[in-house]
Symmetry: D2
Subunit: 270 residues, 4 copies
């Protein structure tokens, strides 16, 4: 697919998530799981009304019957009934942690995000990464400044998302002060960086002053099993709010290609 | 893709290799590698003759110029010159073991092969497997009988492919005797298997008598980096002849989707 | 450790499980988890006698009370109470799937088991395997014959462990007949195998007739996180009875080196 | 092992590498490889006395000489010679990329290093990591300041280690200026950080200003195969000088536990 046609969504102040490519499908997952019995993919459920019995027979399950078969209730020729279909198997696989079949599907994303987000992201060791390198090229001067609303999201219950002991209660003016302070620090860091580059400090050392709020860019590729594992941890209230914005968008983007799997995954999640 | 349209090739007496799906491309690999510098994919080289200057300008490199641009030498409208292109980067990546970019492409195959072949195959721990299960359904009575020619391929140099110490030299009649002996043994095993199943021996125990020459079936999915690692070991003279037949076909099938990568991989290989 | 001193236990008729080595410990797991806060290992809980109530309050577990607190029973000042106890953190890690710290411990086993057991085992792709190779040396003539009791364990509820549709009910004499049949089939296979080896059939082909009930031998090494994943699937009523015998013993052997982790893992398991 | 007894070595201005634990051994690697033939560990080469020269030639190492060869010192026929020694197998395994046996040994390290070093380190996806978290506890104010000598190590041949195009030639005073500039930037960042923490900015956001030159701490655990892969990339002239200091020390520390493997690994390396 041409890069211009890839779905993309802006995240935070300068970041984005772009869906480069997906492979496999809900059907492929079922096909792989059915290797064990040799039965193959049988079909998704289709809701249809039986015209032969005026719809009164719609309660009857007609599993495995093709659209041309007779209505099992009225035996009429024109019928069409709800078959539960292979969604059931898909759900069974997921619920019972038969995870291998979900490895035959997958997706590649391009992500622009602050370094501290990538630091969390890279702990997922089952993805394939290629990231911008400040050893090759200086990083562009893009830095994350959290909004006031975000800064005020101070969790009382999630220890990791909280403040230090004895801290003051953050106020709106305090949040604005912090914004000013980091904008100014980002500018100082950029100043030192550019000056150092010009004076002949190797790029790999000039970068030492760059804050973890600076943006970087990468492609990440993984199979669906591992994207679901990523979402389980990162599209979750315990995850840092910033990475969660990426995870939530990623989950949405996967839904386009794997609607049935993502619906099952979503059941009962926050 | 519909199963009927998947490329498939017969291997050994009852086996096959079917290409279910590939993802990524030579271009995607280059795009991923270029994340480090931010330059993206620049284009493949195209060999063309510049008609505008009667070919005398062909020595000039025209990197990055599309097929519609002017000849840089004569500025004529009809031109076309050999650009080295991103094949060079692809080769550099491969030769220098920058392997991560090759993880953004991949392929899924369906394989029917004897159990002893799967035993070797499953040692590759970076593939995703879903195999037929004799605990679910009895295995069909298909068994591998090596041809006489194959039987006579007795390696003197490869210890693993050789005979025991002090063995006789296998003759053509000896090879035929062995064929008869295993056909007969396969039949006995199938007899015991069917009898046991009928009498109520659990499927998972009745299978104990099945020889490793019996066929099974699976799907295997992996990224291109790992398929290349598989080929390095299995499309090799040290590999057992049988798995090598699968590997050679697999390599050929990958060439359709990743022609440039597979050409580089093939260079200098047996 | 000298091989003679390694703990070993016989399994099935000719198999065994030998504990080659473990590394890490319950304490190492806690130490690794505490990297996040920098606090290190604090110590396991110790039950001590309360001096304030002359020991009569010792029945009360005082876990989680710091060294300066009062005795919860007598409220006396002179007490000796539990140190906080890092068992709590260990349990928290396990219950909340913070699995990485469990990767710093591990174990290596040597296993002799029938090929069909190894076929299931090798699906665990996070272990390191080195197995006997019938390409190098002929496999010794050891084959698994299930006991009559085992053969009669026909599950009505677990589809995978059951019989084919329409099978007779297995009787004790039927089970004995099956034993006779496979003993005889094993002997035939061995006959063909030896004859083929002598006549110069390459070892890698002579082995085709060997049934999956034949024994092989390997070493398997993995970290504790992955051994627990193995046990979750294989020391479970859904697993085939044979591999479960290995898993149950393996679990027991791990308990010696990781008593606290294995106790937590065992809670609530069958 | 008690933490106080673990070997530790200082690296850079505030970093260190501590060897927490190793498992397996050169012998275990051989044992695992020998699973294929069932022969087990045969023993390392043993130096024996040459009878031909009355023992006076014993200073000569006769490693690798077969039992029928002459004494290399006195050329006498009566010599007592080395057993072939399993060093040979170990070398064969390594040279021919039979890598699985090297997975039964391994090591855990504790590392204190700047964040940009960890960013490179974490790309190795086969290690197990547990790192200090700035979401839990504020990071201590330790930051990496490269020495003047290090700053002047500007590679002309390695693009990644070089300067931007058109940069001036770095001079010693220029290097000192850069040191001053980053020390000052580090102090500003720490100022903003502490102020933000006090005013109630959540720890996970206050950290945004921390530069990648700040130190963090982690434990990393991997098997020997994967440590060798790490060293191949990081104890190499193409690696950034800083991570190479860690890699070189790590290699040295592994030598204590795996002297034969590390000697083979070191042959022909820079």
């Amino acid at each position: 697919m041409n890069e211009d046609l890839m779905p993309v969504k802006t995240i935070l102040d300068h970041g984005y998530l772009k869906l480069v490519e997906t492979w496999g499908s809900d059907q492929r997952i079922v096909e792989s799981a059915r290797m064990s019995t040799g039965k193959g993919f049988l079909g998704w459920g289709v809701e249809e009304t039986c015209e032969g019995c005026d719809g009164s027979g719609t309660g009857t399950k007609m599993r495995g019957h093709g659209p041309g078969s007779l209505c099992p209730r009225c035996q009429g020729r024109k019928r069409a009934i709800n078959r539960p279909g292979d969604e059931k198997l898909l759900k069974y696989l997921y619920d019972n942690k038969h995870a291998t079949p979900f490895e035959v599907a997958g997706a590649t994303f391009e992500i622009m995000a602050p370094i501290f987000v990538f630091r969390e992201w890279h702990r997922h060791r089952t993805q394939s990464y290629n990231e911008q390198s400040a050893r090759y090229e200086p990083l562009p001067d893009l830095n994350y400044v959290p909004s006031v609303e975000r800064l005020l999201l101070n969790s009382k219950t999630n220890k990791q998302a909280g403040t230090i002991k004895g801290a003051a209660e953050l106020t709106e003016p305090g949040a604005r002060d912090f914004q000013d302070a980091i904008v100014s620090l980002y500018a100082s860091a950029e100043g030192v960086y550019q000056q150092a580059l010009k004076e002949g400090v190797p790029k790999e050392l000039a970068r030492l002053v760059l804050p973890v709020g600076r943006y970087s860019r990468m492609r990440a590729s993984a199979n669906l099993r591992n994207w679901l594992a990523f979402l389980t941890l990162r599209d979750d209230p315990h995850a840092q709010w910033e990475i969660r914005q990426y995870a939530a968008t990623l989950r949405e983007m996967l839904t386009g290609s794997f609607p049935r799997t993502m619906a099952i995954f979503g059941d009962g999640r926050p």
